[in-house]
Each structure stands twice: as structure tokens, then as C-alpha cells.
């Protein structure tokens, strides 16, 4: 048995998918020109008053429902007071005593259930750009954007569990349409509370706090680093000091951060600019009815389709990917083959980027066409891949490429109709000739169509379509 045990609790922040900010009507958007999405409210100018975005509350409720939490009947916004150059009002509007949701649970791999303490809504701060020469450039576009905070109970005992949790949670939030959880822009980030205790003692260890980690890797390394650091301190018989520590991703180590008195006591109190909001049972059922198919249900559905755990894990790492699979599979009804194509060929073409709309690579209908042709043995696997590559390269429709490559197998009536129509427009006289001597013209057209389909169209089909066209 190990001598020491890790105890970890998490606070996870995720940007909410709203059109406007939480307490003003400025656009909630990442990537705009700095300080262009601001107004007196989110700039913290005097005399402006906040106004709550209903959608932000509904999305937080939705997250709560997706995580099995209880939704409060009354919710209150409070002010958390502290000074920082990215915090324009000198306080952050957040929730402490009456959060939107309490409780809830997330099941991670191995069936361990991580209990949640609360889920609430708060506002984001602005963005600081450190020039490195002693100055900070401040952009308030993000100031006042709605963010979700999810606080776990101290249920984790390893960095691995934490990473599994934040990865599963991310999926749940994305699949419920609450947040895009964009990690590259800090839209999904973590605060870690950690302590180490002796396994042979009931006494709790001293807790340290690490704030604002933005990647799974940092989380894992920071926790492992701290675990070792604590063990070394304890082994030396010294006491661990309660403090806030930062993570230096370059040096791969943590460091002590001095906290001011104002950060040790945030002096939360109700924001009297904002009313208490009452949530009715009808509100809850309305929001629940809007909730997309849950993450867990979707996984079950995929297993029922015969996909392997490997496939499901990969597909469900991102909502865009899973949605794309659903669209293609609706046209192919070949779940395994479809999953293989998406998880090997498409992901490779996407250079393993998971946050994107895969229709930009190849439309779901074109990918379905290729898979279907392969399924009916109309093309070989090698040719199918060739078609895919050419579609991606040229941007032409799959059908066109197939024809161009002379791979057209059993041409269907639609194709024949297309060719005959083309012949008719090339030579408008044909129609009159047909009325005079149908057999001659028919033979001529059969020859043309067979030639244009590389011999793949059959004569009786051509006659049938031709008769239809000529009426």
C-alpha cells in the first residue's frame, strides 16, 4: 500500500454558447479586434446597469440537467470583490450562496462516480497580453462573457482520474450544446485544489490551489509534480504551507504565488443591481425538452450499432465528429464501415483536428456515395480512396470524379437520363428524327450512352429511360 494519498477537487470553467454577453448586449465572440465588443457595462464605466441574459441562465440549467444536478428555485448573483487589470468593475458577478444548480455526478472510466458540488454562472474577465517588457495590453472583448463554473467534490485520487473527468465533462458539455469548450483560446480551463495525506492517518493534508490551467497535459503534469513535491516535504518532516501555486509549463514546475488580502477574502455579497430570479417547474421542463440527446445515450446508441469501444471513444471525442458520423451513416446504414472511413481517412485528412465541420473536407452525402459504391462492390477499395482524395483535392462532386476516372459501375436511370438530356441539347434535331424513325435514333443513342459510360450502361435500361423522356 502506498504511504501517501492524493485528494483533489476541481473547479472547471467553460465558456457558454450565447450570442450576447451575460450582463449586457455586447456580442459574445472570440477573435474580434480588441476592445470593439464593449459597452459601458462590460467596460465597468460608472452609471451603467447590468441586465441578465436569459439564455445564459438556461444554458447553465441545461448543463445542470445533463449532469443530473438539482436546479434551484431561486438564484442570486453576487459580487466577488478583488482588483486585477482584467477585471473592469473591480468585482466579478458570480454566484456563491444561491447557485443555479447543486449536486450532480460524472461517471469516469472504471465506473468511478465523481460527485459535483455545484454548477453556476459567472462572468469572464478581459484578456491580458503580457508584452514581456513590463507592460500589459488589456482587451475587454471577453469581459462579461458568460462562463459556467462546475465545482466537484474532492473525489479524485490521481491525475489520471482528473484528466478522464475533464475529458468526459467536456464531451457532456459539448454534446448538450452548452459550450464549445475551446481549449486553444482558454474557453475550457481548470482550478485544482490538492492535498496529500498519509494513508495511515485520517488527518487531512494542507491544501494548495492551482489556478487557470488550460490543457489536459498541464493538469496531469502539475498534479503529478505537486504530489511529488508534497511527498518530499512530508518525508522531510516539514509542514506544507497553504498557498496558491502557479504552473510554469516551460519549466514544467509549480511556483508559489503571493496572494493579497483582497484575494483571501473576496467579500461576496448579493449584487443589488440584479434581482433574485425565480425558476418555475415549467421553466425546468422547457429547458429539459430542449436538451439534445445526452452524451451517455449517444454512446449506448453507437454500441447498439455494433461499433467498438475504440470507435465510440474516438467518435465521441467531439460533437462535430459524432454529428458528421450520424449524417453519413443515415445515408449508408453501414455503421462500422462509415466509422472506419471517418476515423481513419477523414481524421487523417483533417490532420486530426477535432473542432471542425467535416463537411468542409468532403460532404456527408459524397462520403456516403463512396461508401455505398464500395458496399455494392461497384468500385474497389483502392479506387474508393482515390475518389476521396480527388474530391478533397479538386472540390468536384464525387459522382463526377467517379465518372471521370471511368469507374462508373452500374449506371442508374438518373445517370442515363442526364446523358440523354445532354445529347438532346447538343443536337436538338434528334427529337424530330426520333418521331420519324425511332429505332434508328434509339440505336444511335444507345451507342452514345454506352460509349459515354464506358460500356457500363445496359441497352434495355437506356431504352426505358429514352421512352420516358420522349413521352
Amino acid at each position: 500500500m502506498d504511504k501517501y494519498r492524493l485528494v483533489i477537487g476541481l473547479e472547471v470553467h467553460a465558456e457558454l454558447k450565447t450570442l450576447s454577453k451575460a450582463f449586457c448586449s455586447c456580442k459574445n465572440e472570440v477573435g474580434a479586434i480588441p476592445n470593439t465588443l464593449v459597452c459601458p457595462v462590460c467596460l465597468g464605466l460608472p452609471g451603467a446597469s447590468p441586465s441578465i441574459n436569459k439564455r445564459a441562465i438556461e444554458l447553465t440549467m441545461m448543463a445542470g440537467l445533463a449532469l443530473g444536478a438539482n436546479i434551484a428555485e431561486e438564484i442570486v448573483f453576487e459580487r466577488k470583490n478583488y482588483f486585477y487589470p482584467d477585471l473592469p468593475k473591480g468585482y466579478q458577478i458570480c454566484q456563491l450562496r444561491h447557485p443555479i444548480a447543486t449536486g450532480g455526478v460524472v461517471e469516469i472510466a472504471g465506473g468511478k462516480r465523481i460527485r459535483l458540488n455545484r454548477i453556476h454562472l459567472e462572468e469572464n474577465a478581459g484578456k491580458l497580453l503580457h508584452t514581456g517588457d513590463g507592460r500589459i495590453y488589456v482587451d475587454f472583448n471577453r469581459s462579461g462573457a458568460p462562463i459556467l463554473e462546475i465545482v466537484s467534490e474532492p473525489d479524485f485520487s490521481s491525475s489520471k482520474e482528473v484528466v478522464e473527468f475533464i475529458s468526459t465533462l467536456r464531451n457532456i458539455l459539448m454534446f448538450s450544446g452548452v459550450s464549445d469548450c475551446r481549449m486553444e483560446t482558454g474557453g475550457y480551463r481548470f482550478d485544482i485544489n490538492l492535498s496529500v495525506q498519509r494513508t495511515d492517518s485520517a488527518e487531512l493534508g494542507t491544501r494548495i490551489e492551482m489556478k487557470n490551467l488550460t490543457s489536459f497535459k498541464d493538469v496531469e503534469m502539475a498534479i503529478d509534480y505537486e504530489f511529488q513535491r508534497h511527498i518530499e516535504i512530508l518525508e522531510a518532516g516539514v509542514e506544507v504551507s497553504q498557498e496558491t501555486r502557479g504552473w510554469d509549463a516551460e519549466k514544467m514546475q509549480t511556483y508559489s504565488v503571493r496572494r493579497k488580502e483582497s484575494e483571501n477574502d473576496y467579500r461576496h455579497f448579493p449584487d443589488t443591481d440584479l434581482p433574485t430570479i425565480t425558476i418555475s417547474k415549467e421553466d425546468i421542463s422547457r429547458v429539459a425538452s430542449e436538451l439534445p440527446e445526452s452524451y451517455a445515450k449517444r454512446r449506448e446508441k453507437y454500441f447498439a450499432l455494433g461499433l467498438t469501444k475504440y470507435d465510440v471513444d474516438l467518435l465521441m471525442q467531439n460533437k462535430y465528429l459524432a454529428d458528421y458520423f450520424d449524417r453519413v451513416n443515415a445515408l449508408t446504414n453501414e455503421p462500422k464501415e462509415t466509422a472506419n472511413w471517418i476515423l481513419t481517412e477523414i481524421l487523417a485528412l483533417a490532420k486530426n483536428v477535432v473542432d471542425m465541420d467535416y463537411d468542409y473536407i468532403i460532404s456527408s452525402s459524397d462520403l456516403a456515395l463512396i461508401i455505398n459504391m464500395l458496399g455494392k462492390s461497384q468500385i474497389s477499395r483502392t479506387n474508393a480512396k482515390e475518389v476521396l482524395l480527388q474530391v478533397v483535392e479538386t472540390g468536384k462532386k464525387a459522382k463526377f470524379i467517379v465518372r471521370e476516372l471511368g469507374l462508373w459501375g452500374d449506371v442508374d436511370n438518373e445517370d442515363i437520363e442526364e446523358i440523354i438530356n445532354a445529347l438532346l441539347s447538343e443536337n436538338p434535331g434528334i427529337k424530330a428524327d426520333y418521331l420519324n424513325s425511332p429505332e434508328v435514333v434509339s440505336n444511335h443513342i444507345i451507342g452514345e450512352v454506352i460509349s459515354r459510360t464506358n460500356g457500363k450502361a445496359r441497352a434495355e435500361k437506356i431504352l426505358e429511360v429514352l421512352a420516358n423522356i420522349m413521352g
Binding site: K54, A56, N81, I136
Partner: protein, 98 residues
């Protein structure tokens, strides 16, 4: 009027939370002033209360719809700014940032 809750240490704690600097002389003065005021505030504690203080209540349906509108023009954003560079507000680095 003095109040035993208000000591130099407490004045210093409050000053840090307030982001204010005081001379030693000011701190002494504040011990008396703030202490006196707090003694007056103690009156409240003597009153028996059962109900909790409440705030205005509003149903979820009454809140603002999620629609965005254009904010301040750039000129207005920066007009009162002490220090600006291009599209940004500028401040010196923080002591010990996170």
C-alpha cells in the same frame, strides 16, 4: 469612541482590501473613526430578527433575450483612458500574476 475590533492590524487589512495607502498618522485617526462608526453599527445586532433580508424577485421569463447589439465606438472606449496603445488599454505589469 474606540472599538476593540478595530486595531492597527485590522485597519491595515482593510486598507489592503480597499487598495488604499495610509500614513501611520492616518491609521491612528482611522482606528478612532472607523471604530466609532462600528460601535454605532453594533446597535443592529441587538434587534431580534426572524425573516431574512430579501431582494426584488423576477421570473426567468422576464429576463433579457439573447440578442446582441453594437457597443461603444472605439473613440468613446478610449476617450477617458489614462494609457492606450492602438486597440489596447495599457498598464504596467502586475507584481505577481497568475
Amino acid at each position: 469612541m474606540e472599538n476593540n475590533l478595530i486595531t492597527v492590524a485590522e485597519i491595515e487589512r482593510l486598507a489592503e482590501m480597499s487598495a488604499l495607502n495610509f500614513s501611520d498618522e492616518d491609521k491612528e485617526r482611522l482606528i478612532g473613526e472607523v471604530g466609532g462608526i462600528i460601535s454605532m453599527l453594533d446597535e443592529c445586532g441587538k434587534i431580534k430578527t426572524e425573516s431574512k433580508g430579501m431582494s426584488r424577485k423576477v421570473p426567468l421569463s422576464a429576463l433579457r433575450e439573447d440578442e446582441f447589439s453594437v457597443g461603444l465606438t472605439s473613440e468613446r472606449v478610449f476617450v477617458n483612458a489614462p494609457s492606450r496603445d492602438g486597440d489596447y488599454f495599457v498598464v504596467p505589469e502586475v507584481n505577481n500574476g497568475l
